[in-house]
């Protein structure tokens, strides 16, 4: 019941609640006294003067707001800047290409060996630098030219 005293003093009770409370007050001196005192407190609080913000207040708020950076969502940022969109697309393509590219060591082992196997022997044997190499090899010691060519190609 006591928490209703303030609502009664402030006129915040519904009509039926107010009538019930007034019936209670008629028979309860303590609540009646408290209601009178709370009304006095409320009246005293009314005496406090209001302050007005300083003249510079609005200007400062507007300055703070003006200093705020314009905020954009991620997608609107891309839409406004085609260059950024293009750069992002290129970056994505580059990443996709890098991720699908095989490792360098594997390339040599898997792709170059079939080339050697299928190579036209005439082309290799008539290739001038290899012929020179073969002769030089023969001059120094009696090595195998074919294995030398194979080594060069696979390197």
């Amino acid at each position: 019941m006591e928490t209703k005293i303030l609502a009664y003093v402030d006129g915040r009770l519904k009509d039926n609640e107010r009538l019930d409370f007034e019936k209670h007050l008629a028979g309860c001196a303590a609540c009646k006294l408290r209601a009178t005192e709370f009304r006095a407190v409320s009246s005293l609080l009314d005496e406090l003067p209001q302050i007005e913000p300083s003249e510079a207040f609005d200007l400062r708020v507007h300055a703070l707001v003006a200093a705020e950076p314009a905020r954009r969502s991620w997608w609107s940022w891309l839409a406004v800047s085609p260059r950024a969109a293009f750069a992002a697309a290129m970056l994505l393509l580059a990443m996709a290409w890098i991720s699908t590219r095989p490792e360098p060591g594997v390339v040599v082992a898997e792709q170059d060996l079939p080339v050697v196997e299928n190579a036209d022997y005439d082309v290799i044997s008539n290739f001038a630098p290899l012929s020179d190499l073969s002769q030089a090899s023969d001059d120094d010691d009696e090595g195998d030219t074919g294995s030398g060519a194979g080594a060069m190609v696979t390197q």
Partner: protein, 198 residues
């Protein structure tokens, strides 16, 4: 017809800066008064009020009118005030409300107490000054949450449902909080209350 707070805020969200100026005009004084009575320092109260408006502006894009605008506004203000009071950041700069009311009046902010022609008798003026000081003291002595509840209830005239949302408590807890606050004020202001109640 004046646009509602929610409509103004939705217009701010849509990019209308003049609607923000209207909201500022509408709530600058209530906010400054609420914060002044919470933190007891005018300069700090203005800083906090500016921060409230800035936060409202920053949140404009995410604003959804799910509650009353004042609930949202005073919730921001109350949180800032409670944090500030607890942090005690402005302790050194604080101008106590114990300071003579005349000092405030000289700055032009409490003119109702600085009206010499209304008080030809200096003695009467001093009595009223002491009375106002006593009321301020009593409010200052309230625990922060009780103080916020009294200020929102008494000066902003918000309803219980709204205040309970602002203070993040149930309505019954709020009523109990207000009752305890008024009990403290009744005791603190006993001499004035006795005279007033006659």
């Amino acid at each position: 017809m004046a646009r509602s707070d929610v409509q103004l805020m939705l217009d701010v969200k849509a990019g209308d800066e003049t609607s923000f100026a209207l909201l500022l005009q509408r709530y600058r004084s209530p906010l400054a008064n609420f914060l002044y009575r919470m933190v007891r320092n005018r300069e700090q109260a203005e800083d906090l009020a500016q921060e409230v408006f800035l936060r409202v502006y920053r949140a404009r894009e995410e604003y959804v009118p799910s509650a009353k605008f004042t609930t949202w506004l005073f919730r921001i203000a109350t949180n800032l005030a409670l944090n500030s009071v607890r942090d005690n950041r402005y302790q050194r700069l604080e101008v106590s409300l114990d300071a003579p009311v005349v000092a405030d009046a000289e700055e032009g902010d409490e003119k109702t107490l600085d009206v010499p022609e209304k008080h030809p008798n200096i003695e009467q003026h001093l009595v009223e000054e002491a009375r106002a000081q006593m009321i301020r003291h009593a409010i200052d002595k309230l625990p922060e949450k009780q103080r916020a509840a009294v200020l929102l209830h008494k000066y902003q005239e918000l309803d219980y449902a709204e205040i309970s949302k602002i203070l993040q408590c149930s309505e019954s807890a709020l009523k109990s909080l207000l009752f305890r606050a008024y009990e403290t004020l009744r005791v603190e202001l006993a001499p004035l209350v006795a005279r007033q109640a006659k």
